[in-house]
């Protein structure tokens, strides 16, 4: 018996089409097709101006970043319905810290309000950033230990925490929007840079939030592909029993996965904070979980676990965003947009299934 060398490990009939590269190229082609569709149809070439390209990135960044974590969770055979609430929780936390103030006795016996941001103008945004991310990390961790510790279906757990986290966000904000006292650079995280008048921001080329997305996506992809953790995530999603038999610490890996999901969702929360103009709105990001899940699925993730890719999910988020933006810029009525997006979600999965069928 010969070693399966490279030459014979490459059969054109089947392997080529199901190789990850071809799959990725296929998804990319879909993205390009959707883009070209609007590029041609939107009048005056407005759809492919640098400004609009930047907008596509900016508008898809929140979904895409949250989709990174969701990809891992879905590959591991789970699901997280609480991402929308977690984003809101992060948004509110950031605003709450930026707006933190307390009363001191003032000069003429009056009470004076002191804002922490005035005391620590440099440090506080960083604290807010860290806290905003950490709160989601913690939320993800709670999802993880609940799923693992109580051995419950993630759908139910995260349906529950969806309510809980949203409630906490509202509680923290005292059921209103928080308007931080001062704008900080956190508010500008998602500002367009290409067309900015400020040379400092221009130098970034892309908005800092988009850079965060890019780096996070690369890290996530590397983790999935080149680390033990990534292997374990795939193994658990493919067959949890096998993973357990092979000595994979299933519970721990799941907890880590949900916690990582929280991390990425926290980053998405920072972006959302900036995107809605630097306010702490506890009703923000309602129903985002559906877009995020849709992005992962369009990107090739399987709700049965064991399948999915970071690149695919990012492309999925871009496709959804382009559809929305294109629909808006074409002046399609809102209802047409919603209907079309719904159809595209189904179509994406159908095409994926057909492709997979063709190769078996």
């Amino acid at each position: 018996m010969k070693l399966p060398n490279l030459a014979n490990s490459f059969r054109f009939t089947r392997d080529m089409w199901s190789s990850p590269w071809v799959t990725a190229i296929g998804r990319f082609a879909a993205l390009v097709a959707v883009f070209l569709f609007f590029a041609v149809l939107v009048e005056g070439g407005k759809f492919y101006t640098p400004r609009n390209l930047e907008n596509i990135l900016r508008q898809s960044a929140v979904y895409a970043t949250a989709a990174l974590g969701m990809t891992m969770i879905i590959i591991a055979g789970g699901i997280d319905l609480s991402v929308g609430s977690m984003i809101a929780l992060s948004v509110v936390t950031v605003a709450w810290i930026l707006d933190y103030h307390y009363a001191v006795p003032g000069s003429q016996g009056q009470v004076e309000t002191v804002y922490l941001i005035h005391r620590w103008p440099v440090l506080l945004p960083w604290i807010a950033l860290v806290a905003g991310v950490l709160v989601s990390v913690l939320a993800g961790f709670i999802n993880g230990i609940t799923v693992v510790g109580l051995r419950l279906v993630p759908f139910i757990v995260t349906l529950g925490t969806m309510g809980i986290f949203r409630g906490l966000a509202k509680g923290l904000a005292q059921e209103k929007d928080i308007y931080p006292r001062e704008d900080t650079w956190l508010t500008r995280l998602m500002d367009p840079t290409l067309t900015s008048h400020d040379p400092h921001w221009r130098a970034w080329i892309l908005p800092p939030g988009v850079w965060i997305l890019i780096i996070a996506a690369i890290v996530a992809a590397l983790v999935l592909r080149y680390t033990k953790l990534g292997r374990y995530i795939f193994a658990i999603g493919s067959n949890e029993e096998t993973a357990r038999l092979c000595g994979v610490p299933v519970g721990r890996v799941k907890i880590v996965t949900y916690t990582l999901g929280g991390l990425f969702t926290g980053l998405a929360g920072l972006m959302q904070f900036s995107f809605i103009g630097g306010i702490g709105q506890p009703t923000s990001a309602i129903a985002y979980e559906l877009f995020v899940i849709a992005a992962v699925v369009i990107g090739g993730g399987s709700l049965m676990g064991g399948q999915g890719s970071i690149l695919g999910s990012v492309i999925g988020a871009l496709i959804i965003t382009i559809l929305y933006m294109g629909g808006q810029q074409m002046g399609w009525p809102k209802w047409v947009q919603e209907t079309v997006i719904g159809m595209i979600i189904i179509a994406a999965v159908v095409i994926d299934r057909l492709r997979q069928q063709a190769t078996t």
Binding site: R51, K170, D191, I279
Partner: protein, 329 residues
């Protein structure tokens, strides 16, 4: 308008602490927080117990109906309601009244005559106030966009109507008057962004004026305009908004907004409670109470003490300028 029985009932209630429910259109947002503040102050002063509950956003009719019903169940002595929909909730109110609970309507009008009194801004007048200022600013000519709010809602619909009527009469052209996607700032911003995009021609926003109907829609429009500016589109449209929040006041000071039509939410909350309690205590109450509306411009903001007080800018001299009253903390 249920007449006599209030007086007789009032007597039997004497001695017992009155319990009233105040039901806003939503529990989120600056506007309603300020209303709550006024209502609470009044309730405290009058020595009545107040329950405050409302739906999450201003589209959830079923939710608000349930809250009204639950307050009826609790047999509160009276209800002050800001109805989400003027026609659909007529029966909700009638049923509460049938159950023996008088209702004061505030903020937004409702159809029918079951309620005791209506405490609100003259919204139509508020709209035309905005239009008059817009006509002045544009010199009687121009293309104007109106961002509405939730459909079927008494208050904002009247404002849009008032604005559009007066603006048209004054020679302005209304080029669009869309409803936002939903009742959140985000929803307003998304719709504003889409609609504005349609008016961008050659890197310029081809609009002369913009009017928005309440705090959420003004905030959303403001954010959308800021995005446009930041992405290099020239915006010379005059922007008049409705309501005030700290952010909107800042924007007004910074010149991003030309004027705000300010209602008096605190007074509205206060008067709603006062009217209800007065009625419950057997006093005569007017059918309609106007809580007042004023045009706030940058100059007035700097100089008019009444205006400064209304929007919560401190009365203290320059040094502390910009400090909101932050009464919620």
């Amino acid at each position: 308008r249920p007449p006599e029985r209030a007086a007789s009932q009032a007597k039997s209630d004497q001695g017992k602490k009155l319990v009233i429910a105040v039901i806003p259109k939503s529990t989120g947002g600056e506007f309603w927080k300020t209303v709550e503040m006024g209502a609470r102050e009044a309730a405290e002063e009058l020595g009545v117990e107040m329950k405050w509950d409302g739906p999450l956003t201003e589209t959830e009719l079923a939710e608000q109906n349930k809250i009204v019903e639950n307050m009826v169940t609790l047999q509160v002595d009276g209800i002050a309601l800001a109805p989400l929909n003027r026609s659909a909730q007529r029966r909700t109110v009638e049923r509460a009244v049938e159950a023996g609970i008088p209702v004061v309507i505030f903020d937004s009008e409702i159809d029918g005559h079951a309620h005791v009194s209506f405490v609100a801004t003259n919204n139509k007048q508020g709209g035309s106030l905005g239009a008059q200022h817009m006509i002045e600013l544009l010199g009687g000519r121009g293309r104007v966009l109106v961002l509405r709010f939730v459909q079927g809602t008494g208050s904002t619909e009247a404002r849009a109507e008032g604005f559009i009527e007066t603006a048209r009469a004054g020679g302005l052209e209304i080029v669009a008057d869309p409803y936002p996607e939903d009742a959140t700032v985000e929803g307003c911003k998304k719709t504003a962004t889409n609609v504005l995009e349609g008016f961008v021609k050659a890197n310029e926003l081809a609009l002369d004026g913009i009017f928005a109907c309440n705090d959420r829609s003004t905030l959303g429009m403001l954010a959308a305009l800021e995005d446009l500016r930041k992405s290099g589109v020239k915006v010379h449209a005059r922007f008049i908004g409705f309501d005030f929040t700290p952010r909107l006041i800042e924007a007004l000071q910074a010149g991003l907004i030309d004027a705000l039509i300010a209602q008096n939410p605190r007074k509205m909350g206060r008067l709603a409670v006062e009217t209800l309690v007065a009625y419950l205590r057997g006093q005569q109450v007017p059918e309609y109470i106007d809580t007042g509306v004023v045009l706030v411009t940058r100059e007035k903001l700097a100089t008019d003490p009444a205006v400064r007080q209304l929007v919560g800018l401190s009365e203290k001299p320059a040094g502390n300028q910009g400090e909101p009253s932050s009464a919620d903390k």
